[in-house]
């Protein structure tokens, strides 16, 4: 993985090969877990980074639930390598991984991601079929059991924000739900998207403030400050509903409802006004700056057990 090109976009097969290689290089630190299978039969893989112990408290990071947000998956690859490089070298990060496991799902929507490479670069949803409709796919970030069916998601299968017929109807979502509930000790959950440069916390489906809003807001402020310090990229932060719009059935509203206090979602950079078509030259700067924000959240999680 030292010669892997982190500054270009890769296909699903290449990313899965990268994951295998990383596991082979660091068998004491990294394992690959299959948490499910997609609608089209692809495996859903998560990398587990652990320095030992059983059922340690853990931090979850997922990238690329919306398949066309390529810089997100590319950043996930970079994070995976960074974790193996910095463990034992960077004291602050080493302390995190000595106390907690990290689960990293690099390609959260494998069917959609493969489809963006082969057929339609602009695809964002899953690839599941809805009975009675010719339209394909569900927005997996509207399919969670948190305010499901409320305003901020569509009931129309042809819409880009189609919520699905029922919560967890998408195996990409159900697999995470099953994993998180059976693990039972996840303390931070960070879901990464692009673009529009935001760091958000619950809620999305209601304007009621989250019970931990003050702490989450302070932490988001610190994380954004760390991110901005590297390349000057400006991020806004706040609750989903206050900062962008009402979004029901979203990932972090569900994780927060499960008692995972440090639930955040990122929207990575769009410097250069290219949207989902961010030039590959920006992958590494994007990943580098995001890593600083992730470190801030992970460090806070370790230092504030609950």
């Amino acid at each position: 993985t030292d010669t892997f090109n982190y500054a270009t976009y890769h296909s699903l097969d290449e990313i899965y090969e990268f994951m295998d290689l990383l596991v082979a290089e660091h068998p004491q630190l990294v394992t690959k877990i299959q948490i499910g299978t997609t609608f089209e039969g692809r495996p859903i893989h998560v990398l587990k980074f652990s320095t030992g112990g059983t059922n340690r408290p853990a931090i979850w990071i997922d990238t690329g639930i919306h398949s066309r947000e390529w810089v997100t998956q590319a950043s996930g690859v970079w994070f995976a390598k960074k974790i193996t490089k910095d463990y034992g070298q960077d004291p602050a990060f080493t302390a995190i991984l000595d106390n907690m496991d990290i689960f990293l799902e690099i390609v959260t929507n494998p069917d959609g991601f493969a489809y963006t490479h082969k057929t339609n670069r602009m695809w964002r949803k899953t690839r599941s079929h809805t009975e009675g409709s010719l339209c394909v796919g569900v927005d997996p970030n509207r399919n969670w059991d948190a305010g499901f069916g409320k305003p901020g998601a569509s009931s129309n299968p042809c819409s880009e924000t189609y919520r699905g017929k029922f919560p967890n109807s998408e195996s990409e979502v159900k697999s995470i739900v099953d994993f998180v509930t059976s693990h039972g000790n996840i303390k931070a959950f960070i879901s990464i998207h692009s673009y529009s440069q935001l760091l958000l916390y619950p809620y999305g489906y209601t304007s009621e403030p989250a019970p931990d809003k003050d702490e989450l807001d302070q932490l988001a402020k610190s994380a954004v400050a760390a991110l901005t310090s590297l390349h000057g990229t400006k991020f806004k932060y706040g609750s989903i509903i206050d900062t962008i719009y009402q979004a029901s059935g979203n990932t972090i509203d569900w994780t927060y409802s499960q008692g995972i206090k440090y639930s955040f979602t990122f929207e990575l950079r769009d410097t250069g006004l290219r949207g989902f078509l961010l030039p590959a030259s920006q992958i590494i700067p994007t990943a580098e700056e995001t890593w600083l924000a992730l470190l801030t959240i992970m460090d806070h999680t370790v230092k504030h057990p609950y």
Partner: protein
Amino acid sequence: NENFVGHQVLRISAADEAQVQKVKELEDLEHLQLDFWRDAARAGLPIDVRVPFPSIQSVKAFLEYHDISYEIMIEDVQSLLDEEKQQMSFQARALS
């Protein structure tokens, strides 16, 4: 492969809530096949929308009629996709 020749991405600036509502009306017109990259949320936040070539005139006329300002964020989506693809195959060749 889906072709995006002539698709443009417009960055729309809605000055007030009434203009946001007007842009939302566009969202409901399915025949235009608009793809909102950033949804119409509230005044002051940019709205980015990919407009297929056949809908460009209608969308721009709608925005101009309602005095909603916009700029072309991406002139031709396909040319950026071609660039992206070319770069990926160059990297793959370099590696092999």
